[in-house]
């Protein structure tokens, strides 16, 4: 049960995740799933829901942190075209693995969140775009969707109301870029996932050029609690400008890697020491990657940083999807950077020259650096190529590719120099 006193809330998205059998409708309903849905469908209307979501302070959990209520209010009404709701379950950012747990353990929470969101947006057809590798999770979702249709929670005139909505689970096929919302749309239309220029934004021209809302799994799963307890209630959880609970996926050199849902603003040290069983080696991390592999690195001096949007931004990075990757004293930041450079070169969709060429360059130079074949001039290339990529492309993948390189050069200049050819001979 989610506490109605905001100071006592211990979980929102993970509230029922540990209950055995929670993936079945019977167990989910026994534990409160869909309990508030009739009230929403019969007593709420679109303006009221959007206003509650705005008041809640909920910001998108997929990475960009855009205010959800505001995004919803950009959707034009009465265009004569259908409005689509797409759930982004692509979960490809290295370090992120939270949506998977929601989907495999509590799929009905996502379905309920999508029905309520779809109702607010006047949606007739909604889709869950799930990464292709999550076959098990897609099967769990499919089974839950089937049960929901049979119980008239989906389909025609849901629970006797005037609202009808279809929901389809759609598998991707192994392409990180399809997590970017416009690439996701291209992919869902049956094409290669190449991001589109923005504007127009999907809210105005998205799936088949119709108004489309793309939201992350965790974002949508927060909606039922917000509507049941009120936007005001949600806004009091966490810290100013970062309302609510957040699932942090912690990986790397910690003893108990995993997903932990904590109030926004929880200090990183608390997350690592109280939840993750501390570091594998040493007392402080060598590198903190706070929001997934695409976010700039922080050093040990930020070990006490409150995990909230503004605080992490002030420190020079981003909260992103809440994927915290920890490197301890035994880790080699150069090897990690080389591995990430490979990732971005492999995943670039190739349509912008700075990204296609730049990510390839970065990987090749990193490979040579690691092999002790670089000179000072190569370091300049590394830095300049990274700086030239960021902000000059259609999507943010290029910025993400530059982040680890620039972080490495800034935080570990001596270690990098020790790899240069003249020091390796």
């Amino acid at each position: 049960m989610i506490a109605s006193d905001p100071s006592k809330v211990t979980a929102i998205c993970f509230d029922r995740i540990h209950i055995p059998g929670q993936n079945t409708l019977a167990v989910a309903q026994k534990n409160g799933a869909y309990a508030f849905l009739p009230t929403v469908l019969n007593e709420f209307d679109s303006p009221k829901i959007i206003s509650e979501v705005k008041t809640s302070g909920l910001r998108g959990r997929g990475g960009a942190g855009f205010p959800t209520g505001m995004k919803w209010s950009f959707v034009p009404r009465n265009t004569g075209k259908p409005t689509y709701l797409l759930c982004n379950a692509d979960e490809g950012e290295p370090g992120t693995f939270k949506d998977r747990d929601i989907m495999r353990f509590d799929p009905h929470l996502l379905i309920e969140g999508m029905i309520m969101s779809g109702f607010a947006l006047g949606v007739r057809d909604a889709y869950i775009y799930i990464r292709g590798e999550f076959l098990h999770e897609a099967n769990v979702l499919d089974a839950a969707v089937k049960e929901a249709y049979e119980a008239n929670l989906l389909g025609q005139r849901i629970l006797g109301s005037s609202f009808s909505m279809n929901l389809t689970v759609h598998r991707g096929a192994g392409a990180y870029i399809c997590g970017e919302e416009t690439a996701l749309i291209e992919s869902l239309e049956g094409r290669a996932g190449r991001p589109r220029f923005k504007p127009p934004f999907p809210a105005v021209e998205g799936f088949y050029r119709s108004p489309t809302v793309v939201n992350n799994v965790e974002t949508l799963c927060t909606i039922p609690a917000i509507l049941a307890h009120g936007g005001e209630w949600h806004s009091k959880i966490g810290v100013p400008n970062s309302a609510g609970m957040k699932i942090f996926s912690v990986s790397g050199n910690v003893n108990k890697a995993g997903n932990y849902e904590v109030p926004m603003g929880t200090p990183l040290r608390v997350l690592v020491e109280q939840y993750c069983g501390g570091l594998q080696h040493g007392d402080v991390p060598k590198v903190i990657i706070p929001g997934g592999s695409s976010t700039p690195w922080l050093g040990a001096e930020h070990y006490d940083i409150p995990l909230a949007y503004d605080e992490v931004h002030k420190a020079g990075s981003m909260l992103g999807s809440g994927a915290v990757i920890i490197l301890d004293e035994t880790a080699d930041p150069i090897a990690l950077t080389r591995r990430l450079a490979h990732f971005y070169a492999h995943e670039s969709c190739g349509q912008c020259t700075p990204c296609r060429e730049g990510t390839g360059w970065l990987e090749r130079v990193m490979l040579r650096l690691e092999a002790g074949q670089c000179n000072e001039q190569d370091l300049v290339v590394l830095k300049e190529a990274s700086q030239h990529m960021a902000g000059r492309t259609i999507c943010a993948l290029a910025d993400g590719a530059a982040a680890p390189i620039l972080s490495l050069l800034k935080m570990f200049p001596d270690a990098v120099r020790s790899y240069l050819a003249e020091n390796k001979a």
Binding site: P94, A175, S293, A323, I325, L327, F343
Partner: protein, 175 residues
């Protein structure tokens, strides 16, 4: 899973009436039929084992689109395979969380054990090893997917056991 079907690049292949009905239902879920391309490719790959040219042509004909449209998609997404692989695909994640928890050591051990390099298939056609990007399960690092099934916190011993069991089965042993 891999039903015995003629999948030579030239041979004629077909969907069964049941599969065609499933495809018709799939198409109906989307505003336009092209959206069904990824699901139909998944279905075809599941059935035929991989996606040689004749299967891609079949998908194009079934959805009434050009072979080029199918090729573009098949080559863009890493999960679509144009070539036959071993019966067991061992896909080792070596991205950040896994790398920091011994994924490369595990990968090297597997390559040594099977006597192949990353991307290769064992001579008996049983195993293919590939290196993949973050599987979205970093809490369970290192992660190995075996034919789409996730194995987490995998040790070298776990992989040895799996390999021995598979080989035992092949020789008719009681694995």
């Amino acid at each position: 899973m891999n039903t015995a079907v003629d999948t030579t690049q030239m041979g004629k292949v077909e969907f069964s009436p049941l599969q065609l009905e499933a495809i018709r239902l799939l198409i109906a879920r989307y505003p336009q039929p092209l959206s069904a391309l990824l699901p139909v490719l998944h279905m075809a790959q599941e059935h035929f084992g991989y996606l040689p040219m004749n299967v891609q042509q079949l998908v194009a004909d079934t959805l009434n689109i050009s072979l080029m449209q199918v090729r573009e998609v098949v080559t863009f997404y890493t999960m679509f395979r144009e070539h036959e692989t071993g019966k067991y695909r061992l896909e080792v994640c070596t991205n950040a969380g896994c790398m920091l928890n011994g994924a490369y050591e595990l990968l090297d051990h597997m390559c040594d054990t099977l006597g192949i390099k990353v991307g290769e298939t064992t001579a008996d056609g049983l195993f293919t090893i590939t290196e993949v990007e973050c599987a979205g399960a970093c809490g369970g690092a290192p992660v190995v997917q075996v034919n789409n099934i996730y194995h987490e916190k995998v040790s070298a011993g776990d992989m040895d056991t799996l390999i021995t069991e598979v080989r035992g089965k092949k020789l008719g042993g009681a694995a």
